[in-house]
Amino acid sequence: MDTKTKDCKELLTEVIDTGLCTLCGACAGGCPYLVSYKGRIVLLDNCTLSEGQCYEYCPRTYTDMDAISQQVFGVPYSEDELGTTKEVLIARSTDAQITERAQYGGAVTTLLSLALAEGFIDSAIMTRTSDDKTPIAFLAQNAAEVLQGAGSNYMACPVLQSYNHLPKDSNHSLAIVAMPCQALALTKMKKEPPQNRPSIDNVKLVIGLFCTWALSPDGFHQFLRENLDLPQVKKFDIPPPPANRFDAYTSSGTISFPLEQIRKFTMPTCAYCLDMTSEFSDISVGSVEGIEGWNTVIIRTDVGAKLMEMAKAKGKLETDNLPPQNLAHLKEAALLKKKRALKEIVKRSGDKNNLLYVGLSPNLADKLLA
């Protein structure tokens, strides 16, 4: 595997034009050449630099998993299906205003509001659903704004572009709500701090979301437009298995689609993604199979642990143990995603020893490919 940093043209030929791009936004908005527009990363002009930060931070260019794990956790990349963890639990908000709008337990909204209130952060980069139902990234600076971001949107959104767009000399203390690919990109940035972008030290907290796949904004939005009266839609949901459907909650009732119909719009890159539980964040949050209204929460770092403690102490979050069956299922699903991804990667590279962007220890690679 080629491990050196390259230029934006190679980013295009290796990632963007080959269906590997996750639309994380790490490459966009940091320079005048790469921007994101309607679900695509567009190169507006040729850059002549032979090494670019666009290539360096991309979560789909070569990533030494051990090295970046050291950066965040101080240990090599965990062989555990869920990655490096301190604690796994379930939680839900005690604030009715939050749970009303939340997708599941409102844990993300609660944690962010708390972090803001305590002055631990002064803003959060997150997504909210715009009027036409596409996700849009924004900078939330108080609890009310954070609440606007509650609820899931299943389409990919270049959230990290918003980080790049902040003034170079800004000294916000930031939280970022990230998909697994975005958390990975942020970790690469922590390892090689960006030049001419806002300081990565400003990022105090990364809350990662569980993800099995994301939908392409372009194709899926067209599907939504053709099949729904969008202004009437209040919320989307993909309930956990065995439901196998995509729900759109409207003012006149719920409209459901078979999941296979929606799966068509999965971004091709998701087939090559190993990370289901956002392994490189401070706190990862997802749903709980079979238990409505709660979140599965994985604490990974000291920062995450401290915030969770505070949330519990101040009575903002109600918590409980994740039932062993759920934990087993979660691990199984996470492992399955890793194995499937590696299998697809090897199929694509044609060589068991070429894992494209994934730099794993041979030991772990063999285990997962077995």
Binding site: C31, V35, T48, Q53, N196
Partner: protein, 645 residues
């Protein structure tokens, strides 16, 4: 310095060729002049228009050359001497009218067409010779070989046109039109002119109808008779003459600017005793007897003429017709490769040809000196790139176009046209323009592309056109697009001037050639009256322009119009002060680093921005910067700062 209407007969003035032509027309007593701007002809109308009112004549910038020629013909039909002037491409545009005018003949008053060719296409889309057109359409054509001749021939040509009853052409080239030389002035006429369309038939036109082309075959025969008459006159014209020995080793047959080059060449080689020059001023029909006479002077004939081997082939045709046993000289010229068949000529090229034919050595200067001089001078300063002026709205427009097409992502293309904005073929306009032909072609080509949907074509098409070009030639193509339901966006760059040729007014500017205010023909009102959706943007508002273009491109039905409206900076700059004072904060400028890579100097290419290699940062050239402030909006680091002036 002197205006062309200076009343000082017998004195010598320093005129450019075009001024000399204009003066010749004045001395001929013209009353009517019409033209469309075109380098290198524009100064003819420019200088006539500036003194028209004073001199009691009428001069107009017409909407295009076709109308200019037709309007001038109208004046001739009504007994007023008239002139139409244009560049070589204009002659293409009027060719259908010319072909028919030759059949109908002209009125009692002389009608002259002046065509200025641009060898090497220094300021043109193509390189083209007007002279073969005269042969093709049976029109007498002359070419001046000096500035004095430019005046004298123009004056005389009106007499000739009246004598034989047909339009006559004076052909010139850039190096006469735009160069300056001595012109001895003649008298200016002081008679009143009365226009009247005489309904009684003219006895010179043998058919009892006026200005009709039928019966065409017969009128064609009459056109040939007129040429015969012209030929007779040409045989003894003072514009044809010979300089050189009775018997020469080489005879040069030449015309126009090439006569001047040939003289220079013969003098430089010091072969005045070996080489004779037959300078022709009356080129079509050929003065065959005169030429035949001079062919006897030498076995070797070299043709020196700009662009096409017109004289070369015409003389060869003539020689082929000579009686059995006549001497056949050896011909040198473009056919033999001694003169280049493309690109403009100059004295050194003629020197080379003569030296090669006569096997004469030539050393203009000491060899050691030459080596030293050439080596030290070589690549001291690299070529500067062609670009839009500082502050030009087109730069901002094409920036928005580039971004919009890239963001749109469907491989959209731009069809181009004629004007300053044609430079968008290159780095000046970020290589956006993909086609360039003639006036109005961009929209015509777009109209065709916009109908290819049934063949799977789905690339957005953007036709770009200037304001003057819009009136000149674009309207029929736009109407075609509406009528045939073609999908394209027409982007009109309205900088309120015919800029490339010298800021002449046009129907959208509200001003005539003679400086009189007039009705504005509103382009947006015109387009809207055709039922077309029109958006008007300020190109300096990059965000809005890009957004608007994206929207217009995305909606794919029928023609849509976007007008990018902002006055030409050179025109604005003469009237007003710069709107902003612009400077670059060196602390914020990151230069070549990742996050910029010298965007402003390397990609944007405004000449007001300079890259300082020593400091690794950009800076503003205060002499050149016009304070438009657009660069401040593209700097990714906010290092370019604009402050209201």
């Amino acid at each position: 310095m002197a205006s062309i209407d200076i009343d000082a007969p017998g004195t010598s003035q320093l005129f450019i060729g075009n001024e000399a032509i204009a003066r010749g027309a004045l001395e001929a007593g013209i009353g009517f002049a019409a033209a469309y701007p075109g380098t290198p002809s524009s100064e003819i109308m420019g200088s006539l228009a500036s003194i028209a009112k004073k001199m009691g004549i009428y001069a107009e910038w017409s909407i295009n050359e076709k109308v200019a020629m037709e309007a001038a013909a109208g004046a001739s039909f009504a007994g007023i001497r008239a002139l139409a002037s244009m560049k070589q491409n204009g002659v293409n545009v009027i060719s259908d009218f010319l072909a028919n005018l030759v059949m109908t003949g002209i009125g009692k008053a002389g009608l002259v067409l002046v065509s200025c060719d641009d060898p090497s296409a220094i300021s043109s889309s193509n390189e083209q010779d007007t002279r073969p057109l005269a042969k093709w359409l049976d029109i007498p054509l002359v070419e001046p070989g000096s500035f004095q001749e430019a005046k004298d021939m123009t004056k005389w040509l009106f007499d000739l046109a009246e004598e034989i009853g047909t339009i006559c052409i004076l052909r010139s080239v850039t190096r006469i039109a735009h160069a300056r030389g001595n012109v001895k002035l003649g008298k200016l006429p002081k008679k009143e002119q009365k226009a009247y369309f005489d309904q009684i038939h003219d006895l010179r036109n043998l058919m009892p109808t006026k200005f009709m082309t039928v019966p065409s075959a017969l009128r064609h025969a009459f056109a040939h008779l007129k040429l015969d008459k012209a030929r007779e006159t040409f045989e003894s014209s003072p514009f044809n003459y010979y300089l050189g020995p009775d018997k020469a080793e080489l005879l040069i047959i030449t015309c126009g600017s090439c006569w001047l080059y040939s003289q220079d060449a013969v003098k430089a080689l010091k072969v005045e005793d070996k080489v004779g020059i037959l300078k022709l001023g009356t080129l079509w029909p050929l003065p065959e007897k005169l030429i035949e006479e001079h062919l006897n002077k030498s076995r070797n004939i070299l043709f020196v003429e700009e662009i096409d081997p017109f004289l070369e082939r015409s003389v060869m045709e003539m020689v082929a017709n000579l009686p059995e046993g006549s001497r056949r000289p050896t011909f040198y010229g473009k056919r033999s490769g001694h003169m280049n068949a493309y690109g403009e000529l100059n004295p050194d090229l003629v020197i080379k040809a003569i030296a090669s034919i006569l096997s004469v050595g030539y050393q203009p200067r000491d060899i050691e000196y030459a080596k030293k001089a050439e080596e030290t001078a070589k690549s001291y300063v690299p070529e500067r790139m062609m670009t839009f002026c500082a502050g030009c709205p087109h730069r901002a427009t094409f920036w928005a176009v580039k971004n919009a097409l890239k963001l749109d992502g469907r491989d959209g293309l731009v069809t181009g046209d004629i004007g300053c904005y044609a430079m968008a073929l290159g780095p000046a306009g970020f290589f956006q323009v993909r086609t360039m032909h003639c006036m109005g072609a961009g929209t015509g080509v777009a109209s065709g592309l916009g109908k290819l949907g049934q063949f799977g074509f789905d690339q957005p098409v953007l036709a770009v056109v200037g304001d003057s070009t819009f009136y000149h030639a674009t309207i029929p193509a736009l109407i075609n697009g509406i009528y045939n339901q073609s999908n394209f966006v027409l982007m009109i760059l309205d900088n309120n001037a015919t800029a490339m040729t010298g800021f002449q007014p046009h129907p959208g500017t509200g001003m005539t050639a003679m400086g009189e205010p007039t009705k504005v023909v509103s382009m947006e009102a015109l387009c809207r009256s055709l039922g077309v959706h029109v958006e008007i943007c300020d190109p300096f508002d990059l965000e809005n322009s890009t957004e608007t273009l994206l929207k217009m491109i995305a909606d794919g039905s029928g023609p849509r119009v976007v007008i990018m409206r902002r006055e030409c900076e050179l025109v604005r700059g003469r009237k007003e002060k710069p709107p902003y004072k612009v400077h670059i904060d060196p602390d914020k400028c990151i230069g070549e680093a990742c996050g910029c890579d010298s965007l402003c100097t390397r990609v944007f290419h405004c000449p007001g921005l300079i890259w300082d290699k020593k400091t690794g940062k950009s800076k503003i050239d205060e002499v050149i910067c016009t304070g438009c402030g657009v660069c401040a909006d593209i700097c990714p680091q906010g290092a370019i700062i604009k402050e209201a002036a």
